[in-house]
Symmetry: C2
Subunit: 192 residues, 2 copies
């Protein structure tokens, strides 16, 4: 599937506002890839498709988790917000016949992050958080950090998310705190 | 070891201010045990001994982690603040010959919590957070909650800790996150 086809699929799968968001994520991901590397074609394809399942119903997504052995059942204990990333990567694979693991994992972890993220995962994860349509203060701070250090910016996004969720006593998916600890520990080691 | 002996050991192991804190934790843990149950003698013994290793040096505690196969090596990636609980439970066992797992685990998890905490673990964990010497606003709120619901109060303490640590980009020991998610999910299910 080429970019043009992917954009067409997504334009039909999403509402106009979400489609505009997606275009901004692709732009932002491209900038990040130019700055930090990673496979730019795969990053762009993952960015185009990252919200592919955004408008599937909770019922359909929860059903998919129950039936697909590659999806962790624990997802059902957390907010539906997570489902579209994990289930989306499976739908992209099965419905759009995209088999590339770099693309699929960047879609899968774009909301939660995880420990030991690939460069492509980091870029899509971060681009989704900092695209210029995100105007809350934490996104703006994170965008500034993204110009200096990819890992520091990813950590900033994760700490904001954890702070937000814990403040509301909402469950935090294990991949998210594993990503957080992973960045904290790596940056500490890198700092000496 | 009876209570009187344990208090004597602790009076020598701790500085006076920390000893006063310990006495308040024992009082608070007693109140919680009277309210919520649990083995009150074991809870009191764990509360007396919970900070047994507080003044051991980081070097000694880190060395113990490296040498004792019952202590997770991952502890070394996190703040030294955690070490005194985990290493303390091992020292209490080896130096004071206390073999009771209920007592030892209440000491071990009094800082981090963990998933599926025992009643005795919850009581000591919470008593340490809310004893009247803790005067920061979050402790006062949590103390009020502790009069209504033990699990809600434990969750409040965990969310405060996670918020505090993530705000400072400090690593959060996995047991703490797992405890947090465990309480969130259980309380959600209990709430219907």
């Amino acid at each position: 599937m080429n970019e043009k086809q992917a954009f067409e699929v997504i334009r039909h799968a999403l509402k106009p506002r979400r489609y505009e968001h997606t275009k901004r994520v692709v732009e932002e991901a491209t900038l990040l890839a130019e700055r930090y590397g990673g496979d730019i074609e795969k990053i762009r394809l993952a960015a185009i498709l990252h919200d592919y399942a955004k408008y599937r119903s909770s019922v359909e997504m929860r059903d998919k988790v129950l039936k697909d052995s590659t999806l962790p059942i624990a997802l059902l204990d957390y907010g539906d917000e997570l489902l579209h990333s994990f289930v989306g990567s499976v739908f992209v694979k099965q419905e759009l016949n995209i088999d590339d693991e770099i693309v699929l994992s960047a879609i899968r972890y774009h909301t939660t992050g995880r420990a030991s993220m690939t460069l492509e995962e980091k870029v899509v994860f971060l681009a989704d958080y900092i695209e210029p349509g995100r105007t809350f203060p934490e996104a703006i701070t994170t965008r500034e950090l993204s110009k200096q250090d990819l890992d520091v910016a990813c950590l900033e996004s994760l700490k904001n998310t954890i702070g937000y969720l814990s403040n509301k006593s909402i469950g935090i998916y294990p991949d998210t705190f594993q990503a957080y600890n992973d960045f904290v520990i790596k940056l500490k080691k890198r700092g000496g």
